[in-house]
């Protein structure tokens, strides 16, 4: 493990024996570009397509101390049939819960195609010994999680122990077995886009299938510019290695309008190949109903009462 650390795969540029290039990010220009893309005007058919896609990409999430089997069952029902009044509305991609509730979600979702994602590795702080984190991951996988959302050790990253972060990701990936690994960077704690870029590369080099912005427990959570920054890393990695890494902005995305802005940024950065739930997810809890409301508006021309949409 420590031998591969010197030049992790994705950090290396092929050909010519060039030095690996981390790359830099200019904050002003990055935010300007994100702001420009947020002004794209999406109407009619494009909007319906975008709204349905947003539902199919959603990781419907509950991560509260107060979560109960009842809450998770109700949310799972919603995940499978977001709009009981309209069977043409697709299911969401996954539900995302704590490890202790994975088995409940697993049973509730049986046969539906909706995935079970579980946070692990001492979520949300990541401040636990590696053994404990790995046990956390294995427990979630054993209970039936299809996807693991781990957090990186920001303390290690910010104190310069990047190798430590890398080794943890490698170890967690191994513990995941067949489960897909999403690596949460908690961008709100990293401070700069340069750090976000570096952390993204470390996570990808360590074996992440997805990189994810936030736990939802820290503000700011997902933003358009930080998502653009991470998508640009994914694009560079794809250019250099052919590896297709997924992206998951999470936290703070509450409206259909925001979701569409993210999809515009995604499409203009990575193109149509990434417009799929296996390469892009929204981590959200309250977003779904606004998307349903807007979708109904597009189809009927009328804004319905929020009471018409279930709150599970």
């Amino acid at each position: 493990m420590s031998q591969t650390l010197a030049l992790p795969r994705a950090l290396e540029l092929p050909g010519g024996g060039r030095l690996p290039r981390l790359g830099a990010v200019d904050a002003v220009a990055l935010e300007a570009r994100a702001g420009e893309l947020a002004k794209r005007s999406i109407k009619r058919e494009s909007k319906v397509f975008a709204l349905e896609l947003a539902i199919r990409m959603m990781d419907l999430t509950t991560l509260e101390g107060a979560d109960t089997p009842g809450k998770v069952k109700a949310m799972s029902a919603k995940a499978m049939h977001p709009d009981p009044g309209d069977p043409s509305v697709p299911s969401v991609a996954a539900v995302c819960v704590y490890p202790s509730l994975v088995s409940v979600a697993r049973r509730a979702l049986r046969g539906s195609g909706v995935k079970v994602a579980s946070v692990a590795t001492a979520f949300p702080s990541g401040q636990a010994p590696l053994d404990v984190k790995l046990a956390d991951v294995r427990a979630a996988v054993d209970a039936g999680a299809d996807e693991i959302d781990m957090v990186i050790d920001r303390g290690a990253f910010l104190s310069g122990r990047v190798g430590h972060v890398y080794e943890e990701v490698v170890a967690v990936k191994e513990a995941c077995g067949d489960a897909h690994l999403k690596v949460i960077l908690e961008t709100g704690e990293l401070g700069t886009y340069d750090a976000v870029r570096k952390a993204s590369l470390v996570a990808i080099a360590g074996g992440a299938d997805f990189i994810k912005t936030s736990t939802g427990k820290v503000s700011p959570a997902a933003t358009l510019p930080v998502t653009l920054c991470m998508l640009e890393v994914i694009r560079d990695v794809h250019d250099e290695t052919g590896l297709a890494i997924g992206m998951k902005p999470a936290g703070g995305i509450r409206t259909a309008k925001q979701a569409i802005q993210y999809l515009c940024v995604l499409h203009e950065t990575l193109g149509p190949d990434w417009l799929t739930p296996d390469l892009f997810r929204f981590g959200a809890s309250s977003l779904l109903n606004d998307v349903l409301l807007q979708l109904r508006k597009q189809r009927t021309g009328i804004y319905r009462s929020p009471d018409e949409f279930t709150i599970d």
């Binding site: 200019d26 794209r40 640009e232 190949d273 296996d278």
Partner: protein
Amino acid sequence: MGAVEKSRKDVLPAGSWDYASSLEGRDIVSFEERYGLFIGGEQVSPRSRSWFTTVSPSTEEPLAEVAQAGAKDVALAVGAAQEAFAPWSSWRPAERAKVLFRIARILQERARELAVAESLDGGKPIKESRDVDLPLAAAHFFYYAGWADKLEYAFPGRRPRPIGVAAQIVPWNFPLLMLAWKIAPALACGNTVVLKPAETTPLTALLFADVCRQAEVPPGVVNIVTGDGSTGAHLVRSEGIGKVAFTGSTEVGKAIQRELAGRDISLTLELGGKAANIVFEDCALDQAVEGIVNGIYFNQGHVCCAGSRLLVQESIHDQLVRKLKRRMSTLRVGDPLDKNTDVGAINSKAQLDRITELVQAGTDEGAELYQPPCRLPEKGWWFAPTVFTNVAQSHRIAQEEIFGPVLSVLTFRTPDEAVEKANNTMYGLSAGIWTEKGSRILWMADRLRAGVVWGNTFNRFDPASPFGGYKESGFGREGGRHGLEAYLRFE
């Protein structure tokens, strides 16, 4: 993963995610059938009795008839400005400031109307006229309104006085913004003006005449004469003017300077450019690509300070060009009134011919051309975003101003070589430097002979920042405190 495979199938084929057209309503602007000249606060028919039609470059549809001002018309306009000068220049400066503030406010209130008019008459995308031209035009009036009663502080001990009648000739690339750059400082300093908009884009200047009426600008303080180059020539030759300010081609700028030789008339020229956008290997690459795109495809490349020469450090050339080409393929060329349009129409047939001719020369000289696949509308004048690689310093496309969406890529190895190549041009209007190293930006800026040097950005404008050229890009500065100096004499 089963669900993943299923969702793969659901993905629509490439291209199905397309922005539905989102047109800005054009009802907000109504053009008159015919516009006379704006002289002495009135719309008057031209003595020349001749008119011409201004068309929309994106559809070739006629928009309005406009007066072709002849020698007599120009003389009348200059006369009106002369008559208005004495009272206007003796107004209390704070009262002059109020007039400018009113203009700025009215420009903001009528921003949508003026933006639509600008895009219709000039062909630029609505997102640019809406987000750049109009806000900046209003900002210029706000900025110079603030200076009107503080001229003594701008030039302590030098007793600034207005010059008299300013003859101002503006180009077609930023019609209303260039009008603002010219008129705002002139009025703030107590001058009166005769302004000639470009032949192909007279409409926003004529709408501005109405803004002047609304803002209660005294009659004769602002006069607008429309017409072709001959109108400009009459204006420059006029007796009674004290100042000429011209923005446009280097060729015409030289002719004006010859014309004014030996006359006691102060002159400022803002002419062509062939700016170098210099990209170092340590830069933030994706943001540099954005800057390069903004530098050359903004306003279809009809920008005198456009970053039309890309100087890229050889070590990142391939990677950068790959990123650039991909980014170019996402540029949306089309209807200027569509809010999702990035690149609009070429301003005129004549300009399209010139671009086409120079691009042909580039191919003939052996440079490698790339244009992203894009459908250009049938009617109107269009040119796809273009990049040339394998360009040598001696190629025409590396030397001559194309004034279109055409980028030439050259390489360098060291900072010294970058400076040498960047300066190796007859122009010197602007330059851009892309590096994460602050000290290198300063080192380069010291050595680049260009009026404006941008660091890690491009095509940024602010009324407080002076703008102008070196060498054949002209002289004099517009904007900022420096911009006042062009409209003052000192006792």
